[in-house]
Amino acid sequence: MVGITSFGFYVPVYRLKRDEISRAWKMKSLGGERAVAGHDEDSLTMAVNATLDGMKVSQKQADGLFFASTTSPYKEKQVAAMIAAAVDLPENTRTADFMDSVRSGTIALNSAIDAVKSGSSESVIVAASDSRMGAGKSQFEQLFGDGAVALTIGSSEVIASIEGSYSVYSELYDTWRLEGNPFVQSWEERFILTEGYVNSMQKVVSGVLEKYKLTPKAFAKVILYGPDGRSQANLARRLGFDLQTQVEDLPFQSIGHAGTAALPTMIVSALCNARDGDKILVANYGDGGDALILQVTKNVEKLQGKEKIKERLARKIYIDYERYLNWRDLVPSEEARRPEFRPPSITCLWRERKSVLALYGNKCNQCGTVQYPPQRICAKCQGKDDFEAYKLSNKEGKIFTYAIDSLTASREVPAIFGVVDFEGGGRVMCEVTECEPSQMKIGMPVEMCFRKVSRKGTIPNYFWKARPRS
């Protein structure tokens, strides 16, 4: 039996109220709020966070990692490899990126299912993550939200087995984005809804029902992609599903449309409320459609992580529109008059990849002292070359002392720096994120999270920061 064996969920803590966007533009608000990736986040870092969240509960180490997104920080270079390195998967992990279509999440999922079914992989993590931008004043600016989900496909401890799939493609300019344009573009709404969304979704849903000889009534739940709430509701009715009992809500009010992560987010939410024996229909859209039939197993009853998702969704820091503009680099602003930092050396980064990307220190075999970065001569007993590798990224810690720095050349000033002492030993000084200066306290419990570190030049650079632990 092949299916979903675990999941991880990530949403940035930052929220922008749609009323706040409408205030800036003096236009109609769509109501609710959207999640906003912090100035130090992108689809790569969010994918790492979702993947780590999922790995906390999964029994088995994955041997594959697929990344799905329309907003890779790279035009050329694989993101999945960086995620695999940050979450510390072995070198013989199969990695792949599935890019460019909002449907990439289910495209990657289908590939993972095929890989496991064929026996070439045992367990594949699919990390779908997006941080799309609509131009100022556009509907998309209000509709879009940022987030990531990691679904693991395997053949043991399956929560929901994959009972069938069906796909169609459709060549139509619905939404698209060209080189050099940060904003998603689209064609006239009436046309793309009718000939794009409704047409493809009808084809893929009726196709899958026909193929497996099922009727709408067979499903306890149906997870339908929706460009917005009203269009999704209209489609559901047209397909013969009951809105009240069958259709999974879009998380528009709390997160927004999270691109490739939008549908996987709804799968996670449906699984949290599913019961043994439930049949779930999943239909995703984007340059065509993917339909999947899920069969929930009794393993769903011991599902972990539901509370964590609620907690994560409840942790919010509201930002104003100007802060959003600054974070997304939408307003040219003056550089701090501070000495310039050099961009990273790729050679140095490569040499220290374990300590930078997976936050490995080492532990002295002679005196047991944990130290970061990894040393050759022990800081405590001066023993030479007698260490074992010791990972700090998964350890919890406390703030020993901290600084609120208004002078540093960061996009977000003041920046917070904390000295973190880890349970079980080890100390690092790092930036503190997901935290406003007034929240900082000596002794505050923190955990580590993967983040973009601001650097000039052409090399995006990533490292670990601390964030408050709930």
């Binding site: 050396s345 800081a379 000084m429």
Partner: protein
């Protein structure tokens, strides 16, 4: 272990005015400081047998010193040890004389920070690293933010109310500005009130703009010779008792041992210096001290690190005026980094200049009474692993 005590004497010193010296180049500063030192010593440049230049940013090699001074093919070396660079140049010159390698040596420290277009200096976690390549993940915290780590932990550990702690730090800024107001060479010669310091914009809580030293240009120089030759040059040479350096291994950020309420290198350098100079009770034996008040909180911690105040109780001494001009142990009598700014390569020698003049009783309105022994102190690099220099000089040879 060997000792340099009383083997070497300073016979001449020079120091430029410090400040935003827009119309002076690095070379101008070197020339002005060096010629004042030579004149003071009664020697000519051609008498100098070897020279050391201390600079962090304003020159790379000995070729930053010989060409402006037109030194004639003598050995010259540039030294760099972060904020302790000036003292390091003096140390090199003094040790060469003590070793018998030369009889007259020159030490010059210079820094020109105001040609960059920035405010502030390169963070110290960049200084001292390979400039050819890094992972780009070094923390970009600014120097005041680094020192604020000390303040946050100090207030926490000793249960000082943050507002009370901030006021205490302000007292240090006020004291140093009072001293600086009496010094025509200081960059800032204005007095400050506690209220002004408290109301200054916050840079890294609890440190505001007026808790930070300025950013300045400046240079200072010293001529040293063997002690037994010193009186040929002048009646009041100043004898070197110790030039101690302690360098940390950045251990303090690698393990959980470091307490962030002191700086271990400060303490170790002071212990070495006191032992070499034969000082048992520094608070009563020292006549004055010039210390590294880059940020007010550091001066507070220095009072404890250098053994003058009890741990966690600098407050009492600050409130009692122990370290004011008229106090038991006057500290930063010239105004300190607070009023001079901190042109890195120059600061150590600038401090030495003040101690030298004080010990010769030439300090006018700032003169301390009956001076015998003076101390200078620098800390370069990070509070969790840096370079500390402590020098002790006196106006008499110890006949014991």
């Amino acid at each position: 272990m060997g000792t340099i005590k009383d083997k070497v004497a300073i016979i001449g010193m020079g120091c430029t005015k410090f400040g935003e010296l827009w119309d002076k180049s690095v070379n101008d500063l070197i020339i002005d400081a060096t010629f004042e030192a030579c004149e003071d010593a009664g020697v000519e440049l051609k008498d100098v047998e070897a020279a050391w230049l201390g600079t962090v940013f304003s020159g790379h090699t000995a070729l930053s010193l010989s060409p402006p001074l037109k030194l004639q093919y003598i050995p010259v070396t540039r030294v760099e040890n972060m904020c302790a660079t000036g003292t390091e140049a003096l140390r090199a010159a003094a040790y060469a004389v003590a070793a018998g390698a030369c009889d007259i040596a020159l030490a010059v420290g210079v820094e020109k920070l105001k040609d960059t277009g920035w405010t502030g200096v390169q963070p110290t976690n960049v200084v001292g690293r390979s400039t050819m390549g890094t992972t780009g993940t070094e923390m970009e915290l600014s120097p005041p933010a680094m020192f604020s780590l000390l303040a946050m932990r100090y207030f926490h550990q000793y249960q000082l109310d943050p507002e009370e702690g901030k006021r205490l730090l302000a007292e240090i800024a006020v004291k140093n500005h009072r001293h600086g107001s009496l010094n025509p060479r200081a960059h800032f010669q204005n007095e400050l009130t506690v209220e002004q310091v408290l109301k200054a914009p916050i840079v890294a809580w609890p440190l505001g703009v007026l808790d930070c030293c300025g950013v300045s240009d400046g240079a200072a120089a010293a001529i040293v010779t063997r002690s037994d030759l010193a009186r040929k040059f002048r009646d009041d040479p100043i004898y070197i008792k110790s030039l101690a350096v302690s360098v940390g291994s950045r251990l303090d950020l690698m393990t959980q041992d470091y307490d962030f309420v002191h700086v271990e290198e400060n303490l170790r350098a002071a212990q070495m210096a006191y032992a070499e100079a034969g000082i048992k009770n520094p608070r009563s034996e020292l006549s004055l001290a010039e210390v590294h008040d880059c940020f007010t909180v550091h001066e507070m911690v220095i009072y404890e690190d250098l053994g003058w105040s009890k741990r966690g109780r600098a407050k009492e001494d600050i409130e009692n005026g122990t370290f004011t001009l008229k106090g038991e142990l006057p500290v930063n009598t010239d105004g300190g980094l607070k009023c001079f700014g901190h042109p890195l390569g120059a600061s150590g020698l600038r401090m030495q200049y003040e101690v030298y003049k004080q010990l010769q009783e030439k300090s006018g309105p700032r003169q301390v009474k009956n001076p015998r022994l003076g101390l200078t102190h620098n800390l370069g690099g990070n509070i969790w692993g840096g370079v500390a220099c402590v020098s002790i000089t006196g106006n008499e040879i110890d006949r014991k």
